[in-house]
Amino acid sequence: MTRSKRFPYITFTILFIASLIWIYPYFWLLFSSFKPTSEIYTRFWPTKFTLEHYRFIFFMSDKLQRPFVRALLNSIFISVTITFMVVVSSAFFGFALSKLDFKGKKAVFNFILFQMLFPGFMFIVPLFVLIKNLGLLNTYSAIILPSIISAWGSFMFAQTFKSIPNDYIEAAKIDGANTFWIVTRVMFPLARSTASIVGLFTFIGAWDNFMWPLIVMKDYNKMPLSVLLASFNHEYSSYVGPILAGSVIQTIPMVLIFLIFRKYFLQGISVSLK
């Protein structure tokens, strides 16, 4: 008995149109950032493409005390540092929690689970008090330090390492490897997809973080792009073109990293499209 299913033309067409509608805002943003100011609201396809908005962002914005290039570099520095620290520290903590046998391990693990119950927003006000008491306001550390260790990341690595047989570790030990070597050269490569998932979500979270840097960073020279763009949007709202160009610059790294690591993003929410 063979079931001959017709190709679902109607569903396909609807889905196709819907996905065009879904990416339309992105294309509108991208085209608008290249349009002459007078055509931003009036035409979808511009009469001519211009780089004036990007020129403004890259060369003129310094004069308005809004250093966009610097903010872009700040964002890259902050997000890359946080991502690197979280991935490395989570790998070591995950290893300790899954492969080392020590008294109280269960309690530490349960504590991590307990920690994940509390939404981050509850701590914003008291965390500000801490950063202020440490004298870290308006420094990069104020943004970076509170997020270099992640309960969620450690949990993810611990779960992955649990499923890796101990034979790998025993073999490495016989060859005289120390713990550092075992974690970085044996366990880490075997958990590459977990590392990518943790790294991807951490990077996106750090890049997109807005409320926390808005609170602790008032220095225009050390602001990440998200906060600088928001302040530019509030104070110079008539510069529509440059604001949109800034939004494109803010969006591109996230979209690129997502497209490169899309396989792991899908794994992270356990989807296979096969």
């Binding site: 805002p25 903590f93 391990k105 920690q115 509850m122 006000v125 949007n233 499209l273």
Partner: protein, 292 residues
């Protein structure tokens, strides 16, 4: 020899754990204690906090702004949750049925999810602005415009639409994973019994997709209580405080009106409300699913 190794492992384990615990004591434990102290005191960032018992909470529950925000949050959920659930369910079902171009479809919906909060708020405030492309399209074809962000009732709906745009792909794929976990043989058996598509959906798909559905609902509820960037960027909480959210109020109370103790009590109540909402969702929706 063996016990020596065991001892070493014990030290090493505690070495790693203590780094984690010391860090957590500083950046999680210390704020946690301050949160509790602040919510029962009066303080303005200077001097020592003055204990006031439950006065912050009493003031909170008699504050009309608090109830306005509470209603806004309920109102937002009423718009957002049905909209995002129905659309992501339709997306998941369509993706399940169509088996070509799946990656293209999934990516074009998912890419909305990795948009930056600030950038997409700017994007939508332009798209939906009075003379923006959406309104000029409506005006040209139908002769009217919609005051998306300036009408008190519509502003919240517009934000719900934005957030829906962002999350349909993500939630849809979680549901899609749920659909894939349902054994195909169930559908084949139902077809042999002459079941219609409608019956198959309500009798097989809907009950069996319950775990994925619960996940999505819990995510959506948590997200609702954390909304900050969109109203901060676009409406500033207005018009008539209709888009004011808990996060915005915590932010402005603590850092603009310099009242961190009141903001701390507000954060505690917000946390409890979101936790209560999640429990309620689980109680109402979650069902044991087992294939016998």
């Amino acid at each position: 020899m063996v016990s020596k190794l065991k001892k070493r492992e014990n030290y090493l384990g505690w070495g790693f754990s203590s780094i984690y615990l010391i860090y957590t004591a500083l950046f999680w434990g210390y704020p946690f204690v301050w949160l509790v102290i602040l919510s029962f005191s009066k303080w303005n960032f200077f001097g020592t906090p003055k204990p006031v018992g439950f006065r912050n909470f009493v003031r909170l529950f008699t504050d009309p702004i608090f109830w306005r925000i509470f209603l806004n949050t309920v109102n937002f959920m009423v718009y957002f949750i049905p909209m995002v659930l129905i659309l992501s369910m339709l997306f998941a079902l369509a993706l399940y049925k169509v088996n070509v171009f799946r990656t293209f479809f999934a990516l074009s919906f998912l890419v909305a999810n990795v948009s930056s909060g600030v950038a997409y708020s700017i994007l939508f405030s332009n798209l939906f602005s009075e003379s923006g492309p959406i309104n000029s399209f409506l005006y040209k074809n139908f002769g009217f415009t919609v005051p998306w962000f300036s009408d008190p009732q519509l502003a919240l709906l517009s934000i719900a639409i934005m957030v829906t745009w962002k999350f349909v792909g993500y939630y849809g794929l979680i549901l899609f994973a749920g659909l894939n976990a349902i054994p195909k043989s169930l559908y084949e058996a139902a077809e042999l019994d002459g079941a219609t598509n409608w019956q198959k959906f309500w009798k097989i798909t809907f009950p069996l997709i319950n775990p994925a559905l619960t996940t999505v609902l819990v995510f959506a509820v948590n997200l609702t209580f954390g909304i900050f960037t969109e109203p901060y960027m676009i409406t500033g909480g207005g018009p008539m405080r209709r888009t004011l959210t808990f996060m915005m109020h915590i932010y402005s109370t603590a850092f603009q009106r310099m009242n961190p103790s009141y903001a701390a009590s507000l954060a505690v109540i917000t946390g409890l409300l979101s936790y209560g909402c999640v429990l309620l969702v689980r109680f109402l929706v979650e069902r044991e699913v087992s294939l016998v």
